[in-house]
Symmetry: C2
Amino acid sequence: MSAIKKTVSKPKAEHGTSLRTAFHEIRELIVHGRLSPGTWIVEGDLAARLGMSRTPVRGALHWLQREGYVLEHKNVSKSRMIVAPLTKEDANELYSIIGRIEGLAGRRTASLPDEKRSEIAQQLRNYNRQLEEIVKARPAKAHGIFDLDHNFHRSIIESGAGPRLMALHKAIEPQTERYWRLYASSIIHDLHRSIAEHEEIIEAISAGDADRVEKALQVNWENGAERLGHVIDVFGERGSW
Amino acid sequence: MSAIKKTVSKPKAEHGTSLRTAFHEIRELIVHGRLSPGTWIVEGDLAARLGMSRTPVRGALHWLQREGYVLEHKNVSKSRMIVAPLTKEDANELYSIIGRIEGLAGRRTASLPDEKRSEIAQQLRNYNRQLEEIVKARPAKAHGIFDLDHNFHRSIIESGAGPRLMALHKAIEPQTERYWRLYASSIIHDLHRSIAEHEEIIEAISAGDADRVEKALQVNWENGAERLGHVIDVFGERGSW
DNA sequence: GTATCCAATTTTGTAGACATTTTTAAATGC
DNA sequence: GCATTTAAAAATGTCTACAAAATTGGATAC
């Protein structure tokens, strides 16, 4: 109980931004591969790298674990964390899960009133048309594709899914970006197929046929996994690089 | 008890147990309704209640959020958390999601070699038989039912799902317990229907028909949601009690 | 009586310290 | 040279302190 309680200066970012920052930064590091799949994660290192204390880093890691970017070996607590590896099997599982989730959402989208449905269909057609243009314009540049495809699917979710399904999709779907970034240039080659599958989705929505929409979405993701698997076979799994 | 406790006050549980404890305790509080749906959660209160600091409580809340027991208003960080409410709509969404997830796992279970499949089928039949016995023996006591049903479904998942799907199921399925506990006594009445649906699942697995297994599991959950919805209609949503 | 602004309280976010466990490396014995 | 034990280092789990927000309640003006 000294008289002088020297307040060690706290640089202080802006309060309430560190966790957010940590989450996004670390996620970025993982998605862009600067943190290789399989790497051991050390809280302290990341904290130093991001210029903050371990507290928000730890929180961010929990979040990233929740989203599947980071894995632990044991269960709750005792976290010995690693960057989630990218494997063909995981891609298969990931894609089929998303297929079901979106299928479920699409089912409800298909049950909306006609007016809403045609509105959405138009929106989707718009995205798909832009994708087509990219395909036509060779050399196709990869950058916009991911976002367009992302938007296409997000539109369906947002119109059909309830809060729980939406949250689930929001947590899982972004993980495809890691695979996308790794194999993008090779995937573009098959883009026209995905576009064709999108057409079927759009038509099914227009028709208001729930079963057909669900099936079409599942197929789109299932085929996407297949296409991706093919590329992985050729280039090998990127456990680290 | 010691005479000279020069320690600077570090009660110290056992190191590495607090987070686990907090997670389970809080989850228990929520599942048993001692933390009512919709209640505002205050880290400090819980910490005091559990006799630990806010740090592990905060971590546990992140986990519980991941599992869906707790909701936030904003996104990452800025957690203003509440206990997730129990509504008919949420139950519907929850159940249909689980139906898809299990369906996906069941699909792969159905693709296992004959030997494995009949092994699993036997295990499932065993669980289902125990459920039947409970139905017959009136008054049916609620306690064992949830666990049996739980085991039934878990067997399917564990035999068919990959790590990702397994983790997802493990995170989502336990949430049904909240609805179960709320409306258990009323659900028991319809138990025989669920048992019949289980038979279909078992047969489909025995036959190795992936589509049929997937469908049967979806139907089981879909119908479960319907049965639950009926009860909720009668007794009202328990936003708090 | 109502609305608005300001102060006090509560609650969350972050940092840093410390304890314990795990890992790594070295040293010793055989 | 290999294995085992032991000491040092690193990493994680938890606690406490403090700062920044957010909320609440009251006082004042109209």
